[in-house]
Each structure stands twice: as C-alpha cells, then as structure tokens.
C-alpha cells in the first residue's frame, strides 16, 4: 500500500540527512533490507496507532533539536563497580576513556571495526531480531537504526562473565545526533550483565538485539538521565530460548523526550522475561514513553512488566504494554502492571495495556493505576517526626520499589535507590 504523501515526504526528509557507511562489509545486506523496510513503513507520525500519546516529530526531523550539555560534575552511576567500561561520546567510540575489552568468557568487538571481519554469529543476528519485531507493529525508527548505525558493540557471551560490561554514553556536543546498534548473543548456559548509562547525545537512536540461547541469562540495567533537553528513541529486541532468562530494568530521570521500546519473544519452554522501569519527571519538558510487546510462543514461560512513573509539574508519562499469547503457549504466566504517582494536578499518565490470548490454559493479569500520594501513609510518617518533604520522598521510593526490586543485584539496586533519593531531594517542591 502506498504511503500517504505527508509520511512519504517526512521519510525522504529524514533519509536525505543520512548516509549508509562506505564500507558496510557483511552488514550491507541487512542495512539495505532495513532501508527497504523504512521506505515501506515510512517514518512514524502522530496518527499511527502506537504514536498517539507521543509526538515523534523530534525523532524524524532532519536535524536534532539542540540539547544543552549539562556540565554539572558528579560521580557517574556504576562508578564504584568493577566492570568493563566502553565509552561513547556523542555516539563516537572513545578508546582512551574505555577499558581494554578483554573479559573471560565474553567476546567484545566494535561494529565499526567488525564489518570487514567474518563474524558469523553477528551476521546472522544483525537486523534479524529488529526485522522480526516489525510484526505486528511497525517500529520504523529501529529499522532506520539498522540501516544507518555508525557503531555499536557485538558482544558474545560463551560463559559466565565475571563482571558486567558497561556501555557509557557521554554527551558533549549540543547538536549531536547518534545512532548506535548493539548485538548481543548469550550462548547456552552463559550469563552476562550489561549496564548502560549516560545522556548520550542531543538525539539518540539506539537498538540492542539480544539473542539468549537455551539456559542463558541476560541482565540489563540502564540509567538514562541528567540532560533535560536530550531526546532518545531506544529499542531492545530480545529472543529467548528454552529455560533462559532476560531481566531488564531502566531508570529514567530528566529528558525532554524518551521512547523506550522493548520487544520480547519467548520461543523456548520455561523461559523467563522481566522488563521493568521507573521514571521520575519534573516539569512540562519531560515526556517519557515505555512501549513493550511480549510474545509467548512456548509453554510454561513467565513474563513480567513492571513500570512506575512519578510525575510532577506538568510531566507526561506513557505506557503501552502488550502480552500476546500464541496458540499452544500453554501454562503461560503473564503479568503486567503500570502505575503512575501524580504529585500534582498538572501531570498526566497515558496508559494502553493490552492482552491478546490464543491459548486456553494461561494465567495473565494486568493492571494500570494513576493516583496521588496516600495521605494516611504520609500522616503516619510525619507523625513520627519525618518532615513533610522527606516523607513525600519516602512515599515516592515506596511507590517505585516494586520496579526497583526487579534488579537482582543488591549492589546495583541500592545504588539506584540512592540515586533516586538524591534526585528527589534536588527536586522537592
């Protein structure tokens, strides 16, 4: 079907500002196929079913909206941890700021350097999970990413990684427009944790494809924060094998526009997929969108979606979450909760929870709520001497707890809570 003229024009404008890499190597076919998908789908528009709550205009414009780099010095999250640091500055890899990517049981290769090499496992995956994730919902920004990504990492875990890999995205230029694409493969029985943090760029488009083989485990903790003007569209595409585990948690503070999509396919029996997020937004210049799609296509799999949003002073939160249970995916255990805590009357939460079930022996539940601070609980805390502002912060942390508890590592969980507490203390009133 031909695209409407407006979409066609928007797509051409966006594509005109980009160019394919000159030496794409083995990624060439995947990139060309992705470009064809982009042309067929067109750039997202306000009328698209899954963009009704979030205006994609700033993601599809030829140039990014400038974003002031926030120079406030502070210790970055995860800084005290033993991990392998891989640093990008405005989407450009910075080798001197990074650690030597040598980690027992893990192969780490830069996408920009790997295109000339023969890396079979990555060639099979690059763009593949993204392409699968285009059904039944179009995700054109992800296809755009596959076609035009300038760099990223190919990470293959063959054993139990002794420490996490930390992808750090620094932001320095006010007009940076970064497109990064990571491909991760967890081999049978292997176990890897990937951490991500940093404001990234004025505009950031990131895709992470994650294939988890039978018995593999992938843990992901991401912190998006700091710069108020930054805009980010991110996608995670994960495919899980038998008895494998995928656990992802994202904390977001600040950011003019964030769209985090997570597309998960459970293809082997007894898989477990948890995706969680907490965001705190202060001001009308905060818009945060979590869009999640979990497909159960095997028996006895468990999926959990836990999203909490704390909004004030005109901030907007969006949640679109779906659980699709395919025929034959019996004994599926699906759970989805999305909640917002509105700290004033100006903020809003827009939620679209969906269940689509084609198997008859499943347990799926979903819920979505929006509410204010519980005055009784607040009084309880204050009656013990806790000042109002601190008591409100405690209530916010209490509200977010269910999402934060999805982080398995106690060390990371505590750090995230501490960061949240600091953010809340800075944003009182």
């Amino acid at each position: 079907m031909a695209l409407p003229q407006a979409k066609l024009t928007a797509t051409e404008v966006r594509l005109a500002a980009l160019c394919l890499p000159s030496a794409p190597g083995w990624t060439r076919l995947a990139r060309e196929a992705a470009l064809a998908r982009v042309r067929a789908m067109g750039m997202p528009g306000r009328r698209d079913e899954y963009w009704r709550f979030t205006d994609p205009a700033d993601f599809v414009s030829a140039e990014p909206v400038p974003a002031t780099h926030h120079a406030r010095q502070k210790i970055p999250v995860f800084d005290g941890m033993d991990r392998v640091k891989l640093v990008f500055v405005d989407g450009v890899f910075d080798a001197t700021a990074s650690d030597d990517p040598a980690l027992a049981g893990v192969e780490i290769t830069r996408l920009a350097e790997a295109q000339g090499q023969d890396i079979h496992w990555a060639a099979d995956l690059y763009g593949t999970l993204e392409a699968r994730g285009q059904e039944p919902v179009d995700r054109p920004l992800a296809a755009l990413n596959t076609a035009f990504a300038t760099d990223g990492f190919l990470i293959r875990a063959t054993g139990r990684a002794e420490k996490p890999v930390n992808l750090i995205y620094r932001h320095e230029s006010d007009t940076s427009d970064a497109i990064l694409h990571h491909v991760i493969k967890i081999e049978p029985g292997a176990d890897l944790t990937v951490l991500e943090n940093g404001p990234s760029a004025a505009r950031f488009n990131k895709v992470m494809e994650v294939e988890i083989a039978d018995g593999g485990a992938f843990h992901h903790v991401r912190v998006q924060g700091r710069d108020h003007d930054r805009r980010a569209a991110t996608h995670i595409f994960a495919r899980l094998g038998r008895e494998s585990a995928f656990k992802s948690f994202t904390m977001t503070a600040n950011g003019a526009l964030t769209r985090n999509e997570c597309v998960i396919e459970l293809t082997g029996d007894d898989g477990v997929a948890h995706v969680a997020g907490a965001c705190v937004g202060d001001g009308a210049d905060f818009h945060h969108d979590d869009t999640v799609f979990v497909t159960h296509d095997a028996e006895r799999c468990e999926s959990r979606q836990v999203f909490k949003k704390v909004l004030k002073n005109g901030a907007t939160g969006v949640f679109q979450g779906k659980i699709l249970v395919q025929p034959g995916a019996q004994k599926t255990d699906g759970y989805q909760i999305s909640q917002s805590l509105l700290l004033d009357g100006d903020s809003q939460f827009l939620a679209k929870p969906e269940l689509e079930i084609y198997a008859d022996d499943v347990a799926c539940s979903h819920g979505s709520t929006s509410g204010a601070i519980d005055e009784t609980a607040l009084f309880y805390l204050r009656s013990r001497g806790v000042p109002r502002a601190e008591a409100v912060d405690m209530m916010v942390l209490s509200f977010i707890a269910e999402a934060v508890e999805e982080i398995e590592s106690e060390e990371i969980r505590e750090e995230i809570v501490e960061r949240l507490a600091q953010w809340l203390a800075r944003h009182r009133g």
Binding site: L381, S383, R384, G385, V386, E390, A391, A401
Partner: protein, 251 residues
Amino acid sequence: MLEIKNLHASLEEEGKEILKGLTLTVEAGKVHAIMGPNGSGKSTLSYVLAGRGGYEVTDGSATLLGQDILGMEPEERAAAGVFLAFQYPVEIPGVGNMTFLRTAVNAQRKARGEEEMDAATFLKVVREKAKELNIDAEMLKRPVNMGFSGGEKKRNEILQMAMLEPRVCILDETDSGLDVDAMKLVADGVNAMRSPDRGFLVITHYQRLLDHIVPDVVHIMVDGRIIKTGGPELALEVEKNGYADLIGEAA
C-alpha cells in the same frame, strides 16, 4: 503536662462537629484512660492531637508543657513529644522498618537541636528494645508493617514509641484485633515506658486492656465530651453495666 481545654473540632468536609468542648489534663507520670461508645469521638481526639488533616479546630486549646500544639505540623508535634500509636498502623512497601525508624529518630533530634544518633548506637539501642518486645531481626529488616500480623503491627508501634521517647503517648484502640497474649506483650511494653516525666492517654472501647495497663484516671467520653471522670473502678463499672447508665446519669 498535656492540657486540653474546651476543645471543639469538626470534620472539614462535612462541617460536622465531633469534639464538643472537651477538657482534660494528663499529668506527667500518670496514665489516663478514655472509654466511650463507638462514635463518641475518641479516635478524632487522637487525630486532632497528632495533627492529621481533615479536621478543623473551631474552639479551645491543647498544650503540651505549656506549648500550643494545635498550630504545629504533625512532625513538629512529634518533635515536641507527641506520639500516637495508630489503631491501624500503615503498611509502607519499599521502606525498611529500620531506615524509617532511624530517619524518624534523627529528624526529631535535628528538630530539637540535638545531635543525631550514629548508625552503630542506633542499631544497638533498637536491637535491645526490639528484643524486649519480642521483635526479631527479620521483622526489623522488612518494609514498614508489610506482612506483619495484627499483633506484630501493634508491637512495632510500641517499638517506635520506645525509640522516640515521647513525653505524651496516645494509644488509639491499641487492643483492637489482639488476642490475650499479644495484648499482654504490648501492655508490658507500655508499662516499661511509664515514667515520672511521661504521660499516657489510653483510648479504648473495652475494659480488658486496662487490666494490663492500669490507669490512674478513667474518663468516659460521650458525644465529643467527657461526661464522667473517676478512678480505675469506673472502667469496671462500664464493663458491668455498659455505657447506657452513665449516659442516663449525665443527661
């Protein structure tokens, strides 16, 4: 120590008057009990004293050690020495019992211009006091009141009271939902805190709690006022004859 004079208070939303000229003085070192039928305004009195929103004081005063407490925020009242043990303690997921308690203790100390209690001292003190109330380490670690039984919640209230060392303790229907053993444990905790510089206001519907926490003075509250004041024997009279006779007598 706690002086309540001609206190009138209404529900803010409905404008309905609940407290209709209540006068009462709790002296330091004394335990006063307030008994009364349902709807007499006992819980409202406790909330108005602790500063819960939703009530409007239209007349009268309440002072603690000469200080007007009605104009204070709830946290200021707490720092001044008011403690309310809730009838229904609130569950707060994601906030550790210990974290909460330490925040509360140090916030009060800070408000009073005292030095904050360091982590090691706090841990030592809380463990000692918890042990006396039969509260184990597991309960201390859990989120505030989450998964606690009725008895555990009430013991946790008493633990908070013991840590915060208030000047006046208001116990709102602390016996509700407790079996005899649990009630005894709570009563022992309260009795251990009786001291010459602390007053108690024990609100209860039934006489049975007063077998364990023996009051110095018993007040009968009906329709927002104290209609009769006497010694512990007054509670026994209520137990035997109910409130009807007393109400008739006052009318």
